[in-house]
């Protein structure tokens, strides 16, 4: 066993072996993998081996696509067969919402280059004669999809890795991981290995591995069962006649997958009531472990399966496998850097590990070797969960993620487990005003307010639903009067010290605000010149700055900052997220409102746009920042959180006859789109240069060095492939653009939408999207697909609502 290596991969399932393989492929051949027992002995060995290309997430979809393509080539490269049966995969739909989901997904697929076809029920029958079709609306098929032999796949990649010089140590348990100045020491029961990077791929042992380095990894597995039947004469007959295997069938509405197996069938449901397992980790002796089956809780799905495929009920059950699958609170894996630790990587929480292993290994290798991934990995980012993901939270949420695998993934869904976890002080007040809440990073946030006799509950859909009218009211009130928005969930921090200014200047591409009390919108690029984070930066003093960014990205943004901070102590970081509340007032009457609650000067001359002042609201100290995300006159009131209700009550009292009404996140989204305001994760991403995203005036390539400048300059020379545009969608009836919709010109895909909504102030259905530069001119006519229907679209100038910004600068 080596005592030194560049990278140590902990865990020898398909995920760990793929990471090792991809590192070696990228030229890091001094890499080793340590496996406590035998390769695949955790969850990989009992996986059903399915390769679903279907995934609503842009990141995950790309990872899956890469894997399916790779697995096809592995035999040629390694000489080892992986048992890939490319039998295609059919997903059935029996409800309209399901078809909407498929159409929305098909848009995503188009933009990633995944081949998906819509099938009629009759076409389903041709491929799957044993399937009952009379109650189906339709289906989608992935011709490239299928299933694979997990153990063979893993061994093939292991062979590939070894051939390139990587080493694998089996029957070697990691007992400790210690951080050193330059990297890590991985302690095993057979000796220690010094290394630069560690990748945790330990599956069911994720939390135990994390504990070794002080990380609370948000992974707890859940039990999943699948039933294997004996052979069915009809299937054997098909085999004898040389007919093709019927492919993987997924009855989404009945929540199961089914495929052929040795002449019989396998059924794998995702039922309610599957418990989390290994909550405190598996025992150290566990390997190849299975749990007691529980067919009772599968009963409704078994009935559904027999209804759909009567043959399934005609044959005996040979075996029921019940094994652990890793889960995270949202069902997507965590692949990327660990927070707070340099060169410690997490590749855990894989619920579709056989498929995701390929792509995850690919991107992690790029991240480690080249310094950055090439695709937007936010969907699988380890830092998308915060400290709030406690063990008991995980148990609830992960069980929920499991039983949601086949539930319709509405764009506006807000799952119910472990809610009311982090609430801002004004939560109850908002609730009494009719708030229907969603959560972001654990924080409850009003999504909209029930009005006009509406029930105070959500209504999910891919189309306009009950809350459309509610946000129309909210948006119009912001336009005519003044609205109140709770943005306490914002990520906030203070950067100060003698080196603070220089550090921030290097961190972001914009010039920092010069005067004390001035605010600037600044972007931190990654080393390849893509946009990583967006900050509102206010200069508090010559050596102190207050940074605000999206609440969902708190851990991500703060980790980014802290990892780039110099180690010499000249810069100090203070997280203020949980100690500062934020209430936003916006609308033409905002000034009047503020004058009523504060003795301070809110006049246009003395409180300019993009400046901040310490004021009192009522008797509370407030840092009023004249900035907002909805394009109206308004202020963000940042305050020590304990004063929130005092401020809230003062505002509500004073605003009664001004028409002050609260509004929610969904209204905010409609309002910001009318201003072409961008968000990290949609319009802004590491896949796009800031220039492509229309951030030109926030980038100063000549100001001096900053992260990503070199790469950005090279990129500019090379030329850009995208341009962000704002579009009006014509003749929309009941569904606006959601995002990821493919955009066409003359029948060819020329881009994808990044977001959309109905703009109530404009009275138009609008969308933002990335398109090829040659079709990015104002007035250009394009077509866009919304849920399977084509609509005409016209490119507008940026910020179609109040393009001169007269309202916000009032």
């Amino acid at each position: 066993m080596k005592s030194k290596a560049k990278v140590v991969v902990v865990g020898g399932g398909v995920v760990g072996v793929s990471a090792l393989y991809h590192l070696a492929k990228k030229g890091f051949t001094d890499v080793v993998l340590v496996e406590r027992k035998e390769l695949t002995s955790g969850s990989t060995w009992h996986a059903a081996g399915l390769l679903p290309l279907f995934n609503m997430s842009y990141s995950v979809g790309q990872l899956h696509k890469y894997a399916v393509d790779l697995y096809k080539k592995l035999e040629e490269e390694t000489g080892q067969n992986v048992g890939f049966s490319v039998v295609s995969n059919i997903r059935l739909a029996s409800t309209k919402d399901r078809m909407d989901e498929y159409h929305q997904y098909a848009g995503v697929a188009q933009t990633i280059g995944v081949d998906v076809k819509f099938l009629t029920p009759n076409q389903v029958k041709e491929i799957w004669p044993l399937c009952r079709i009379d109650d189906l609306l339709g289906a989608i098929q992935h011709p490239e999809d299928g299933y694979i032999q997990p153990a063979d796949l893993t061994q093939a990649m292991a062979t590939g890795a070894r051939n390139m010089g990587a080493e694998i140590y089996r029957n070697t348990a990691v007992v400790g991981i210690k951080q050193t100045k330059d990297g890590w020491i991985v302690e095993t029961d057979k000796g220690s290995i010094e290394c630069e990077h560690v990748i945790s791929c330990s599956g069911n042992f994720a939390r135990q591995t994390g504990k070794m380095v002080g990380l609370d990894i948000p992974v707890i597995p859940v039990e999943h069962q699948y039933i294997v039947t004996e052979a069915h004469p009809d299937i054997l007959k098909r085999k004898k006649e040389g007919l093709p295997e019927m492919g993987v069938l997924r009855d989404s509405d009945s929540r199961w997958y089914m495929r052929e197996e040795a002449g019989g069938l396998i059924l794998g449901p995702y039922e309610d009531g599957a418990p989390a397992c290994y909550v405190d980790g598996p025992s150290k002796d566990s390997e190849y472990e299975l749990f007691q089956e529980d067919l009772d809780r599968l009963a409704p799905h078994i009935e559904g399966a027999i209804h759909r495929v009567p043959a399934f009920g005609e044959v005996g059950v040979k075996k029921v496998y019940n094994g652990a699958i890793c889960y995270t609170p949202d069902g997507n894996p965590i692949v990327g850097p660990a927070w707070g630790l340099k060169n410690f990587w997490i590749n855990e929480g894989h619920s579709f590990g056989i498929t995701a292993a390929g792509g995850a290994g690919w991107q992690l290798a790029e991240w480690i070797v080249d310094g950055e991934p090439t695709i937007d990995m936010l969907g699988v980012e380890p830092r998308r969960f915060g400290q709030y993901a406690t063990k008991s939270y995980l148990k609830e949420k992960n069980e929920e993620a499991y039983n949601h695998v086949f539930k319709v993934h509405y764009p506006d869904e807000e799952r119910g487990a472990a809610r009311e976890l982090r609430t801002s002080p004004c939560y109850d007040r908002m609730k009494n005003l009719g708030a229907v809440f969603g959560q972001k990073f654990g924080w409850e946030r009003p999504n909209f307010f029930a009005t006009d006799g509406m029930e105070q509950k959500d209504d999910w859909s891919f189309r306009r639903s009950k809350w459309f009218k509610a946000i129309e009211k909210e948006c119009k009130n912001v336009k005519e009067n003044v609205g109140l928005l709770d943005m306490t969930a914002f990520a906030k921090c203070r950067i100060k010290g003698s080196g603070a200014e220089d550090f921030l200047d290097y961190l972001v591409a914009n010039k920092l605000p010069k005067k004390i009390g001035r605010i600037g919108l600044c972007h931190a690029l990654n080393t390849k010149g893509g946009v990583h984070s967006e900050f509102t930066i206010m200069r508090e003093a010559s050596d102190s700055f207050y940074l605000v960014s999206a609440g969902a990205n708190q851990r991500l943004d703060h980790d980014w900052i802290q990892k780039w901070m110099p180690a010499d102590g000249s810069v100090q970081f203070e997280n203020l997220t949980n100690s500062i509340g934020v209430l936003v007032v916006s609308g033409p009457k905002a000034r009047e409102l503020m004058t009523r609650v504060s003795r301070d000067d809110f006049s246009g001359e003395n409180f300019k746009w993009l400046s901040a002042k310490s004021v009192n609201v009522g008797n509370a100290p407030v840092n009023a920042m004249r900035v907002n995300f909805v394009g109206e006159l308004g202020w963000e009131l940042h305050h020590p959180i304990e004063y929130q209700n005092h401020i809230f009550d003062k505002l509500m009292e004073a605003g009664k006859d001004l028409g002050l009404k609260p509004y929610g996140i969904r209204a905010m989204n409609s309002l910001r789109l009318e201003k072409s305001y961008k968000l990290v994760g949609t319009e802004l991403s590491i896949e796009y240069s800031p220039y492509e995203s229309g951030l030109d005036r926030f980038i100063h390539p000549n100001k001096g060095k900053f992260i990503g400048l070199e790469a950005l300059n090279k990129w500019r020379e090379k030329g850009f492939d995208n341009k962000l545009v704002t579009m009006e969608i014509h003749n929309v009836d009941d569904a606006d653009v959601l995002g990821n919709n493919p955009i066409y010109e003359k029948g060819k895909v020329v881009g994808r939408a990044t977001g959309g909504d109905f703009g109530f102030r404009l009275g138009k259905s609008i969308a933002l999207g990335m398109v090829k530069p040659n079709v990015a001119t104002t007035g250009q006519k394009l077509k866009i697909d919304i849920l399977g229907k084509m609509y005409d679209a016209t490119i507008l100038d940026e910020s179609p609502y109040d393009p001169e910004n007269n309202l916000l600068r009032a």
Partner: protein, 317 residues
């Protein structure tokens, strides 16, 4: 009190494992008597008396004892065992069939298949197919014990001179009748119970090549197994599949040829006494359970193997 061993024989000769049972029984109690029940088995009585560990032979004759029906033997043994504290036999089908019947009639909780005598009332025995060993202590006054023959050496067969005593037969049990007995003739042993198994995997590349396996199987009188991959690929039919969804086998010798050793296959054969792996991939998982691993191309190794086997004089059957 002393020990009584039930002799296993076929009236013409003693069955070999009786010798191992005698060793075990005398470890329990040096004052060992043997009970010989049969028909025209006087010669056997004489052979038994010559064994130094045997202190006395009790000889019972009756025509209906010819075929050692448990229902006949049991009542007799119960009567004779009045003077004994331990009743012992070897744990092969004879003893397994007979001893529990005796134990129930004596209202005693039998201890089966012991592999070690720790003291007259404490024994070591395998449980869970030998995956665990239990040390057990019998609290019954009379103890019925069966012993695993391969755990004890066969006893000396000459230089002894024990007295032979005739004992009266018991009544015949008329509800069971012996019809016949046949030595099993087979082309090949059954996979599930074969002493030697040779299996082929995906490395065989096609069904035709299994003839290389067949040749070795013929030579070793082995059963033929296969990995799931070989069966899936159509090289051989599925009743040969060894593994988690196939058969679980525990032969004395298991030879895995061109099999990588996926977990599902190991589950079906890892309890084999001796495992041999022949595979050209030195890192294949099968090598981690193999007692003897040969990293070689099976298409060369198999014919060589056959050649070497042919050179040997005798193959243990």
């Amino acid at each position: 009190m002393s020990a009584l061993l039930i002799t296993e024989h076929n009236n013409k000769e003693i069955r070999p494992f009786t010798l191992n049972a005698i060793t075990a029984a005398s470890q329990i109690d040096a004052d060992l008597h043997v009970l010989l029940i049969g028909n025209n088995c006087g010669n056997i009585a004489k052979s038994l008396s010559k064994m130094p560990l045997v202190k006395k032979v009790l000889h019972v004759e009756a025509t209906y004892y010819e075929n050692y029906l448990a229902e006949n033997f049991a009542p007799l043994i119960v009567k004779v065992s009045e003077n004994y504290s331990h009743i012992v036999s070897s744990a092969n089908t004879f003893g397994k069939n007979l001893m529990p019947r005796v134990a129930a009639l004596l209202d005693t909780s039998q201890v089966s298949d012991i592999i070690k005598v720790i003291s007259p009332d404490t024994f070591l025995r395998p449980i869970y197919a030998g995956n665990a060993f239990a040390t057990v202590k019998s609290t019954d006054v009379k103890k019925c014990i069966t012993i695993r023959p391969t755990s004890f050496e066969p006893c000396e067969t000459s230089s002894g001179s024990a007295p032979i005593e005739k004992v009266k037969a018991a009544e015949e049990f008329s509800l069971s009748k012996f019809i016949k007995r046949e030595e099993v003739k087979s082309d090949r042993p059954e996979l599930g119970t074969a002493r030697v198994v040779i299996s082929g995997g995906r490395g065989m590349q096609n069904g035709e090549n299994f003839k290389l396996i067949n040749a070795v199987a013929d030579k070793l009188n082995a059963a033929i197994g296969a990995s799931r991959a070989a069966v899936d690929a159509g090289y051989i039919s599925n009743e040969h599949q060894v593994g988690q969804t196939g058969k679980v086998v525990v032969p004395d010798l298991y030879i895995a040829v061109g099999i990588s050793g996926a977990i599902q296959h190991l589950a079906g054969m890892k309890e084999s006494k001796i495992i041999v792996a022949i595979n050209k991939d030195g890192e294949a998982p099968i090598f981690s359970v193999a007692d003897y691993g040969l990293e070689a191309d099976l298409f060369e190794a198999l014919p060589q193997f056959l050649e070497e086997l042919n050179k040997l004089n005798t193959i243990q059957k």
